[in-house]
């Protein structure tokens, strides 16, 4: 064994099998145990220093809090450590490939974060006089221009706060148009493919419509015969909600015919734009007969997913629906921007207001920064690379895994569980991917494919990363094919083993409570 100048060995001693180590701390090396703030903090401790109140002032008229709140506090170093330790139990795009199909986990550029924090955007109030926020209104107008140009649509509603909120916006605009036609009482049926995101049928119902499900055909597209049969009596048709590219990762080949059929039936075409990232710069939804489509800025235009939000779902509208867009909206006149906030004058046909204020400004700044960085050329290249990466994965993975449908895919590759041995499920493959250092793919969605595995690499992965990923997944797939029972116990190397979701739902514990209080219950 060689020694350094202090006489210490410079290389490890002979390898041996690691013993099963139990630690006293509950931490395991870099994996730090971290308790709840309710267990470590105290109501008398605080991590902020505030000036001393003067005292003697009270205009609350007795409407005061009677009981203590029960909120623990931590000093700043303790708080920082708490959250940093917790962060290390999370997987993230910044750590590796995050192939969650339909969710578009692409790199989040840091310039976007920097720009969103400029005081001129972050430190302005939504109800300041409009003369003091001309730059903010101009930014909304510029982003709207990009969105309209990229989609080939004449109008856009900017206030929806997420994709599902954009769906609600689009369907409410359709509702508004049907009301104006005097047909809201009779046109109540909305067609939704079986492969749709769950938000589509939920949204249609929230807007007062009923849902009629259309089948998928053997190619993973809308079954045109089924669609036509649903339109034989079309007097009650309000519209269709169709995702394109669809949730099977395929372009709806008959989309123009579908649009024509719906329009002839007197209905409107809502397109779920969750997968717009596959076609930016190659196809404009406006050329496909779309009447309304939301755009997930957190998917296509890279605003961070943040562990589940915030999203932003601006919704582009056709000429037929433009007047029914919600308030508020930005209007420019001679270089001066103003917000139309009321349903009168210019906004008199608006269906109303979706939320307080004007939309997800913090996401607008990031999305516009992303668009300007990419430009028209880069956005098109990004879409093409996303599709190329997905097809590359599909072509490599299909050597072991079963593609759900024949032919090329768009931005995501869909596999069924047909290749797995009896007893091995999609869930087992997903959990084994965790041990390989990857986030699992989307599992069991779309519902039209058995044991679905939906893989979306996005354009921000290198070929080398894709190759490494393929090697890992192919090795797991081989095990699944061979019926390797060890997969059932995965993950073995994650911060936690498989969690008992049944117990969580059977006896819901949704908040911390004192241990003795739990015992008393």
């Amino acid at each position: 064994m060689s020694m350094n100048s202090q006489g210490r060995p410079t290389s490890p001693s002979a390898p041996s099998a690691p013993p099963a180590i139990e630690t006293v701390s509950g931490s395991r090396g870099l994996q730090q145990r971290e308790d709840l703030i309710f267990e470590t903090g105290s109501t008398t401790k605080t991590g902020v220093d505030l000036p001393t109140p003067k005292g003697g002032m009270d205009r609350l008229g007795g409407v005061t809090r009677k009981k203590s709140v029960g909120l623990p506090g931590l000093s700043e170093p303790e708080a920082v450590r708490h959250y940093v330790r917790l962060s290390q139990q999370n997987y993230a795009i910044d750590l590796g490939l995050f192939p969650l199909g339909s969710c578009t986990m692409k790199h989040n550029p840091r310039l976007n974060e920097k720009v969103a924090r400029m005081p001129g955007f972050a430190d302005i109030h939504p109800l300041q006089p409009q003369s003091t926020v001309q730059g903010a209104l101009e930014l909304i107008d510029q982003l709207a221009t990009w969105l309209k140009t990229l989609t080939g649509m004449p109008a856009v509603a900017m206030s929806p706060k997420a994709g599902a909120h954009g769906e609600f916006c689009g369907m409410m605009a359709i509702r508004g148009a049907l009301m104006a036609r005097g047909e809201i009482e009779t046109r109540t049926r909305v067609l939704v493919p079986a492969s749709a995101h769950g938000t589509n049928p939920a949204t249609a119902v929230q807007c007062g419509f009923t849902v009629d499900e259309i089948k998928a055909d053997a190619r993973g597209r809308v079954d045109m015969e089924d669609l036509k049969s649903k339109l034989v009596d079309s007097s009650d048709i309000a519209g269709i909600m169709l995702t394109n590219p669809n949730t099977c990762g395929l372009f709806e080949t008959d989309i123009r015919e579908i649009a024509d059929l719906i329009h002839e039936a007197g209905g409107y075409f809502y397109c779920d734009g969750a997968n717009f990232n596959a076609i930016v710069g190659r196809v404009r939804p406006g050329d496909l007969g779309v009447d309304a489509m939301h755009i997930n800025l957190h998917k296509t235009f890279s605003t961070p997913h943040g562990g589940g939000g915030p999203g932003a779902g601006p919704t582009v509208l056709s000429e037929a629906l433009a007047d029914f867009a919600p308030v508020p909206f930005v209007v420019e006149e001679d270089g001066v921007y103003h917000l139309v906030e009321q349903r009168s004058g210019e906004g008199s046909d608006a269906f109303g207001r979706l939320c307080a204020f004007h939309g997800q400004m913090g996401m607008f700044t990031r999305a516009l920064t992303y668009m300007l960085s990419h430009g028209a050329d880069g956005l098109k290249q990004a879409a093409e690379d996303a599709v190329l990466n997905a097809n590359y994965l599909q072509s490599r993975l299909k050597k072991v895994m079963t593609p759900a449908f024949d032919g090329y895919c768009m931005h995501e590759a869909l596999f069924s569980d047909a290749f797995t041995a009896e007893g091995i499920e999609t869930l087992d493959i997903a959990k084994a991917m965790i041990d390989e250092g990857y986030h699992p793919m989307t599992m069991y969605f779309p519902l039209v494919v058995h044991g679905a595995m939906l893989i979306e690499p996005t354009e921000t992965e290198s070929k080398a990363e894709l190759d490494r990923f393929c090697e890992s997944l192919l090795s797991i797939a081989e095990k699944a094919k061979a019926g390797d029972e060890s997969l059932k116990g995965a993950p073995y190397l994650a911060p936690k083993r498989r969690l008992d979701e049944t117990q969580a739902a059977r006896k819901p514990e949704l908040r911390w409570s004192e241990p003795d209080k739990i015992a008393a219950e």
């Binding site: 505030l50 008229g61 939504p126």
Partner: protein
């Protein structure tokens, strides 16, 4: 293009592996008439960081920030100080760039913070349970109305005259689409208790706000009692979360559902979004709640862990029978909220609330000393309405000319309701005594 790792050689090699001649092969399903040749016209090509930052910086420079001088705008969004730690934490890659925690084994960071968030919100509102957040306070309010109809199997909601008009409008939008009748009581600065008179046997819920949009704090207990007598629910709304550090919380007033805006804790003004909607209710209504819920469980080794739970309420399982179409929550904004709340703790929150209240008391004293000013809000936390002789829009514009952003004209929120001479002004811990003096001095000049 700095965000795209594939090289031209990579692309060629990958196409060869796939067996495709060119990228166009993947787009042959697109109807020919809709295929775009070349790149989209009318948009610039890609730019480097410096150029983009300059473009965005120029837009930002056209806005006046809330920190530039005396600033008193509130009405649903408030200028508070956010500790530096909060922004550092939400920029951690592992929080910033992760997804909804669908794979709990590698998302305990997000899940534990959500569990802590739910616990904090429940404590703050004095309610039994809370969800993992909604888009914002206004959409939380709309969801509460719909939930109340689901729970009571009734189709009528009554909105107070002090409910933030944007919240009322968002609620109306959602309710009208579902055939729910919405009764809006006349705007009133101190009229929350009128809800007690308006509840009847058809009412699913009454929605009151404290502090309301005019800043008035009200003990809604009589409203809760009247509602419960008719088997209706009380939805209690707040737009200023800091107020709950000292004012009576929804749970102490008998509220069945509490909803509000959490922006004030941890989140900058951001011109209106993203914010964080808080949603809490009684335990017996838990299964009717919209949105995500995080719950405690154990893993295969028996260790405590957290998961998303009760998802059979949600759209991805229940589809057209879901409690809501909501899919995301406020994610990072909930993290900002919970991190700031952890730094504050009970002690810091109480302290912060007191500073806010004192700033507003001093502002009220100063403005009441200006000839012609009439204070309208009888009991307030950090915001109040006052009448001035003349048009509020004109007065605010003149104040602006003197460097003071003096508040919101009530007529912006209530056009045509005879409130043209009313201003709503807020003060927070960011408001200095010099700011207050500047306001009073400017107002004297403007009204002279």
């Amino acid at each position: 293009m700095r965000y795209l790792p594939l090289t031209p050689e990579d692309r060629k090699e990958m196409l060869a592996t796939i067996g495709a001649a060119s990228i166009d092969d993947f787009y042959t399903d697109v109807p020919e008439a809709a295929r775009l040749g070349g790149k989209i016209a009318g948009l610039p090509d890609h730019q480097g960081e410096l150029a983009v930052e300059r473009h965005m910086g120029a837009l930002a420079a056209k806005n006046r920030t809330a920190s530039e001088g005396p600033f008193f705008v509130g009405c649903g969004a408030y200028k508070h100080h956010v500790p530096a730690t909060v922004d550092h934490i939400i920029q951690r890659s592992e929080f910033l760039t992760t997804y909804t925690p669908y794979q709990p084994e590698i998302a305990q960071g997000t899940l534990q913070t959500l569990f802590e968030f739910q616990s904090q919100v429940a404590a703050l509102t004095a309610m039994e349970v809370a969800n993992a957040s909604m888009y914002d306070g206004s959409t939380a309010c709309a969801e509460a109305a719909v939930m109340a109809c689901r729970v009571t199997r009734r189709q009528k909601v009554v909105l107070s005259g002090g409910l933030h008009p944007h919240y009322a409008a968002a609620t109306r939008t959602v309710c009208e689409a579902q055939g729910i009748e919405v009764v809006q009581l006349a705007p009133g600065i101190d009229a929350e208790l009128a809800l007690a008179e308006a509840v009847d046997d058809e009412t699913a819920c009454v929605i009151g706000q404290s502090p309301n949009v005019f800043g008035t704090v009200t003990d809604l207990t009589p409203v809760a009692d009247a509602a419960h007598e008719k088997k209706a629910l009380l939805v209690s709304v707040f737009t200023e979360a800091v107020s709950l550090g000292m004012t009576m919380p929804p749970g102490e007033m008998g509220a069945d559902i509490a909803v509000g805006e959490g922006q004030s804790i941890g989140n900058p003004l951001n011109f209106g979004g993203p914010y964080v909607g808080l949603f809490a209710c009684s335990k017996k209504l838990m299964r009717q709640m919209p949105g995500r819920l995080c719950g405690e469980t154990v893993d295969a080794d028996g260790n405590r862990g957290f998961v998303l739970t009760l998802s059979t309420r949600e759209q991805h399982i229940r589809r057209d029978k879901a409690t809501s179409n909501i899919c995301t929550n406020a994610g990072l904004c909930t993290l900002a909220f919970t991190a700031h709340m952890t730094l504050l703790g009970e002690k810091g929150l109480g302290h912060l609330a007191q500073l806010n209240h004192e700033a507003a008391c001093m502002l009220a004293d100063a403005l009441e000393g200006v000839s012609g000013v009439e204070l309208l809000t009888p009991r307030f936390f950090n915001e109040f309405a006052f009448r001035i002789p003349g048009d509020a829009g004109d007065v605010l514009e003149k104040l602006d000319g003197l460097g003071v952003v003096g508040g919101v004209r009530a007529s912006r929120l209530y056009p045509g309701k005879g409130l043209d001479d009313v201003i709503i002004a807020a003060a927070t811990e960011c408001t200095s005594e010099a700011d207050i003096k500047a306001y009073a001095d400017a107002l004297v000049k403007v009204l002279a």
